[in-house]
Symmetry: C5
Subunit: 299 residues, 5 copies
Amino acid sequence: MLLDAKLPPSFILRQILPDVAVLLIISVIFQVLKVFVGPYLPPIPLSLPSILGGSISLLLAFTLSQSYDRWWEARKVWGAIVNDSRTLLLQVRSFVKADHLTPALLRGLAYRQMAWCYGLGEALRGQDPMATLVRYLPAQELAYAGQHANKPLALLALHTQQIKTLYEQEAINPFQQVQLDATLVRLCDAMGRAERIKSTVFPTNYRRLVHFLIYLFLGTLSLSLVEINGLWELPILLMFAVTFFLVERTARYMQDPFSDLPTDTPVTAIARTVEINLRQLLEEDEVPAPLPAEAFYLM
Amino acid sequence: MLLDAKLPPSFILRQILPDVAVLLIISVIFQVLKVFVGPYLPPIPLSLPSILGGSISLLLAFTLSQSYDRWWEARKVWGAIVNDSRTLLLQVRSFVKADHLTPALLRGLAYRQMAWCYGLGEALRGQDPMATLVRYLPAQELAYAGQHANKPLALLALHTQQIKTLYEQEAINPFQQVQLDATLVRLCDAMGRAERIKSTVFPTNYRRLVHFLIYLFLGTLSLSLVEINGLWELPILLMFAVTFFLVERTARYMQDPFSDLPTDTPVTAIARTVEINLRQLLEEDEVPAPLPAEAFYLM
Amino acid sequence: MLLDAKLPPSFILRQILPDVAVLLIISVIFQVLKVFVGPYLPPIPLSLPSILGGSISLLLAFTLSQSYDRWWEARKVWGAIVNDSRTLLLQVRSFVKADHLTPALLRGLAYRQMAWCYGLGEALRGQDPMATLVRYLPAQELAYAGQHANKPLALLALHTQQIKTLYEQEAINPFQQVQLDATLVRLCDAMGRAERIKSTVFPTNYRRLVHFLIYLFLGTLSLSLVEINGLWELPILLMFAVTFFLVERTARYMQDPFSDLPTDTPVTAIARTVEINLRQLLEEDEVPAPLPAEAFYLM
Amino acid sequence: MLLDAKLPPSFILRQILPDVAVLLIISVIFQVLKVFVGPYLPPIPLSLPSILGGSISLLLAFTLSQSYDRWWEARKVWGAIVNDSRTLLLQVRSFVKADHLTPALLRGLAYRQMAWCYGLGEALRGQDPMATLVRYLPAQELAYAGQHANKPLALLALHTQQIKTLYEQEAINPFQQVQLDATLVRLCDAMGRAERIKSTVFPTNYRRLVHFLIYLFLGTLSLSLVEINGLWELPILLMFAVTFFLVERTARYMQDPFSDLPTDTPVTAIARTVEINLRQLLEEDEVPAPLPAEAFYLM
Amino acid sequence: MLLDAKLPPSFILRQILPDVAVLLIISVIFQVLKVFVGPYLPPIPLSLPSILGGSISLLLAFTLSQSYDRWWEARKVWGAIVNDSRTLLLQVRSFVKADHLTPALLRGLAYRQMAWCYGLGEALRGQDPMATLVRYLPAQELAYAGQHANKPLALLALHTQQIKTLYEQEAINPFQQVQLDATLVRLCDAMGRAERIKSTVFPTNYRRLVHFLIYLFLGTLSLSLVEINGLWELPILLMFAVTFFLVERTARYMQDPFSDLPTDTPVTAIARTVEINLRQLLEEDEVPAPLPAEAFYLM
C-alpha cells in the first residue's frame, strides 16, 4: 500500500469476469425470450430499476465506508505498532542504569521486537512465522515460542520476563517497570486489535445480500432495456454490470486486509521499517534497505 | 462470527416470510379492487413511490450504519476483553515476587479470569452462568459468586481481593498494585460496555417507523403498478418486498449482538480463545481446541 | 429505554397532529383555488417536489444520525457512571488498610455514590434532588450539599475530602490516593459530559430550517398533485405528511435525552442498577428490585 | 447556544439576500432572452437539474455533517475545560497538606483558573483579554501575562510554577505533583484544540465549489423552467434558491464557532459557569448569576 | 491553511483542464457520428445517466468524506504536536530542581524541540531537514542526527538521553522522569501518525475506479444529449464535466496533506507557532513574527 504503483487493468477485470459473464447470459436469454414470447414479457418502466439502483448505490456506499474503516483501522494498528516499537527501545535505553545497559541487552530486546513485528504479520496472514523468527531469536527463545500456538504472545511473555529480570536486578526502578509495562500493554492491545480484524468476517449475510441485490437490479434493468434498445441493450448492461461489480469488489478487497493478497496492509514492509529504525537506534552499520513494494497493489 | 460459513438461504427467507405474505395479500386485494372499482382507484404516478423509496432507502442506510456500529462495538469490547485477560496474567507473572509466584496462585487467577469470560458471555445472553463457573472456580469462590445477582462483578471483586492480599503480603509493590488495578478497571469497563449494549434497545419507535414506512412504500408501489402491469405486478412487488425486508432484517440482526441467536457476537468462542491463551501461558499440556463454529452464522 | 414495550400508536400520532392538520388545510385551500382560478395555477411537474424530497430526505437522515449520536453518547456517559461507581467501591475495598476499612466507611462512601447517581439524574432533568439525597446522606453532608447550586459537584467534593482524610490517616498510600483520584476525575468528567448534552440545544436554526423545508416540500407536492389526482390528493398528501413529520419527530425526541419525558435516557433505572450493585458489594441483605420500566418508552 | 430563543426570521433571511437577488436577476434575464431569442435557447429536460440537484444535496449534506462536527467538537473542548477546571480545584484542595492549604492559596489558584477561561474565550474571538484579566489576577501575574503574545499559555505557566513551589515546600508529594501536572496537560491540550479549530479554515476551495455549484444548479433549473412555467418560474426558483442558500448558510455558521457572532460557542457563558462552580467550592458568599443568554442565537 | 486567501480561479481550472478536454473531444466525436451514422446510434433514455449520476455522486461524497477525515486527522496530529511541545517545556521548567535548571538547559531542550517540529515537517514533505536543523542544534547533536535516516527519531532519542541524564543527576525524581517520558511517548506517537498518513496512499484502485466512472457517466450523458440538444449538448456537457471533475480534484487535494503543495497542512507555519511559544516561555526578547501565509492555499 506504500506505492502508487500501476496495476494492470487486466488484473482487476479478471476478478469480476464471472459475475459479468453470468449477467450477460441472463441478458441474452431475455433477448431470445423477447423474440419468441415478446408480448407476454412484463413492461418494466425504467423507474423501477431506477428505484432499485438508488437503494443499491446507498448500500454500496455504506459497504465501502465500513470497508474503508476496517482497512484504515488495520493501518492504524500497524502504525501504533511502529510507534510503540520505537518507544520500547527508547524507554529501555533511557531507563536502564548505565552498568546494566549492555549492547547485548539492547540488541536482544530490539531483535525480539523485530521478530514480534514480522511474526505477527505472518501469523495474521496464516503463515508459519517460525522460519522468520529463527533469523532474529536466540535458540532458547525460539524453542519457547515454538511451544506456543500464538507465537507473538509468547514473545510478549518473554519481553515481560526480561523487564521483570531487570527490575529484580534493580536495573530499573518500580516506576520505570510500570511505564515499560504500559508500553507492553499497548503492544498486546495492538496485537489483539489486529487479530480481531482478521478473525471477524464482515457480516456474510450482508455481503451476500448486496451481491444478490446487484443481480436483481441488473436483471430488472435488462428486462427494461430489452424493449427500448434491442441489441444495444447488451453493451449498456455490460457497462452497468462492470460499474456495480467493480465497486462491490473494491469494497471486498478492503474488508480483509490480512489475507495474503496484493491488496493487504503491507505488514512486511512496515515490519521492515521497524527493523530499520531499531537498527539505527542500536547504531548498527548495516541497515537493510526499505522493502521494495511488492509486485503491485490493488488499492 | 468467526467462520464465513454457508447459511441455508431458506433460513433467511423464513424470517421475512410473514411480512412478504402480508404484502402479497394487500397486493391481491388491489388487483381485485381494480377489477371491480378500477376507474375509481387513484392514479399514482410512479414518481410518488419513487420519492418514498428514496427516503426509505436513506433511513435503511442510516439504520444499517448504526446497527453495524453496535455490532462492531460489541466485537471491540470482546476484543478488549481478550487483550486485558492476557495482560492480566502477563502482569501478575511479571510483577509478583519470585517466592510468592506459585503455580497455584497463577492457576487460580487465570481460571477465575476464564470463568469471568465465560460467565460474562452467558450472563449477557440471559443464561445462568453457574453451571459453567463450577468447572473453573474453587468451592468457596463459587459460593461467593452464587450470592451475587451480577456474577462477573463478584468475580472482579475476588480479583481485587486477591490483588489486595498480594499487596499486604508485600508480594507486589504499591506501583504494581496500582498498575494491576488499572487492568481490572479496564475489565470492569468492558463488562459495563457490553451490558450497556445488551440493555439498551435500539430505539423501538424508530424501528417501528421504518417498518411502517416500508409497508407504506410497497403499498403505494403496488397501487401504482396495478395499472401498468396487471398481473405481472405480483412478481415485481414480491421482488421489491424481499429486497427491502431483507435489508431491514439484516440490520435488526446486528442491533442486538447478545440475544442467544446464531447471529450473535461469538462470545463463547472468544472465551475459549482466552482459555487457550491463558492455559498456554500457564504452560499446561492439555489445551482445548478452538471452538468449532456453531452451526452457522447469519452474518 | 430498557424495555421494548409497546407504545400506544395514538401517543405518537398525537405529537404530529398539529403539523398534519395545518398541512391538510393548505391542501384544501389549493383544492378550492383550483376550482375558482384553476387555469392560473402554475403547472408543477412532479420532478420539482421530487428534487426537494430528495434534499429533505438527506437533511432528515443527517438529523437522525446526529440525534442518534447525542442519544447514544448520553447512554454511554451513564454507562461509564455505572462502571466508575463500581470501580470506586472495589478500589476503596481493595486499597484501604484492614484496620481502617470499617463497614461504616464503606457504607458511607457507597451511599454517597448512590446519592450522586440519583442526584445527577434529577438535576439533569431539572428536578430538585434534595428530596432524594435525604434518603442516602447523613445530616451534615446533606447540609453541605444544600448550600451548593450544583449538588453532584458538592458530593464529589465530599468524596475528595474523604479520600484526603484516608490519606492523612495513612489508611491509603500516595499511589492509591492518586489512583482513587483518577476515578473521581472520571466521574467529574462524566458529570460534565452529561451537563454538556443537557445544556447544548441542538442548533435551533437548523431544526427550524428542516421544519420549514418539510412544509415547502409538501406544499409543492400538494400543488403538483391537485392537477393529477383531484380529491385523491388529500389521502396521498396525508400519507407523505405523516411520513416526514414522524421521522422529524423521532429525531427530535432523541436530541434531548434529559427532558423528563418518557423517551429520556432512563437515568433513574440506571441509578437503581448502581444501587443494587453497590449494596451487593456491601453484602447487604435487602437489595431493591430493578426499577420497573416507567409507563412506556417512546423509542 | 444555551437558550432555545426565538430568532427574528428577518435576521436569517438578510444573510442570504444578496445571493437570492443575484439569482433572481439571472432568472429575469432568461425570461427576457426567451422573449427575444426563445427558439435558440437550448431545451433543458428537467432530468438535468435533477441530477445536479441530487449531487449538490449530497455535497451540502456532507458539508453540514462536517460543520456540525466542528461545532460539536468546539463544544466538547469547552465542556472538557469545565470539567478540568473543577478537577483542578478539587485536586489542590485534596492534595495540599493542611498547614499549607490557606484560603489565599486556593483563592489565587481558582481566580487564575477563572481568568484563564475568560481569557482563552476572548483570545479565541480575537479580543484583547487584558481588560478582563485585571479583574481576576494580582498585579504581578498581570504584568507577566502582559508580556506574552499568548496570554492563556502564560497563565498555564504560572499554574505550573505554583505547583512547583508547592512541591518544593513539600506541601504535596511527588505523585500528587505528577497528578496535578496531568490535569494541567489536559488544560493545555484543550487550549490547543480550541486554537486548532479557530485557526483552521474550513477548506476554502471546497466552500467556493459548493457555492458555485448551487448557482450552476439554480441557473440550469431556471432555464429549464422558463419553457414550462413562464412567469411562474420566478416564485418557484425563489423557493429553491432560498432552500439551498439557507442550508449552505446554516452550515457555514457552524464551521467557525469562535467568530464573535451570535452563533458562537457561548464561551463567556461557559466561563461564567466555571466561575460560579469555583466560587462555590471556595465557599464564597457572593456568587454571580449565570450569564443571561446573549441577545439571541442563530442556531 | 491558516488564511482564507483568494485563490486565482485559473489555478483550479488548470488542474482539471486535461480531463475536461478529453471529454469534449469524445463529445465532438459523438456529434460527428450522429451526422453520419445517426440512426444506428443507440437510444439512451436520460434515466440511464441519471442512475449512474446518482451512484457516482454517492461515491464522490464518500470519497470527499474520507479525504476530509485524512486532512483533518493530519491537522489534529499537528495540533497535538503544538500542545505537547508546550507541555514538554512547561514540565521541564516545573520539574527540574532549581540548581540544575540553567537557562542553557532549557534553551537546549526548547531549541531541539523547535528543530524537531521543523524537521518533521520537512521530512514529511520529502525535503532534507539538515539545512534547517543547523540553525537550532549544536554541532554534536547535528552530527548525531546526520547519521540517522529518520532525523526526527534521532532528535527524540536525544531528548530521552537528556531526560535520562537529568534523572541520573537527581535533578528530577523517578515520577517526574516517567511523566516526562509520557510526553515524549506522545510526541513519538504524533510523529508516527503523521508518517502513517504520509506513507499510506489513498486506495489507488478506488481512486481510478471513481475517475473511470465519471468518464462513463459523462460519456453516457453525452450520447443521451446528442439526440435531444444537438450542438447545445457541448456547453451542457462541459458544465457537468467541470462539476464532477472539480469535486473529484478537491477530494484528491485533501487526501495527501504532506505533498509540498500549496494545499498542504501548513506544517512550517505551525512549527513557527511552536517556535514563538517556546521562545516566549524562554523569555527571549526576539521572537520571530508568525509566518506569513504562503502564496495561497487551494483549500
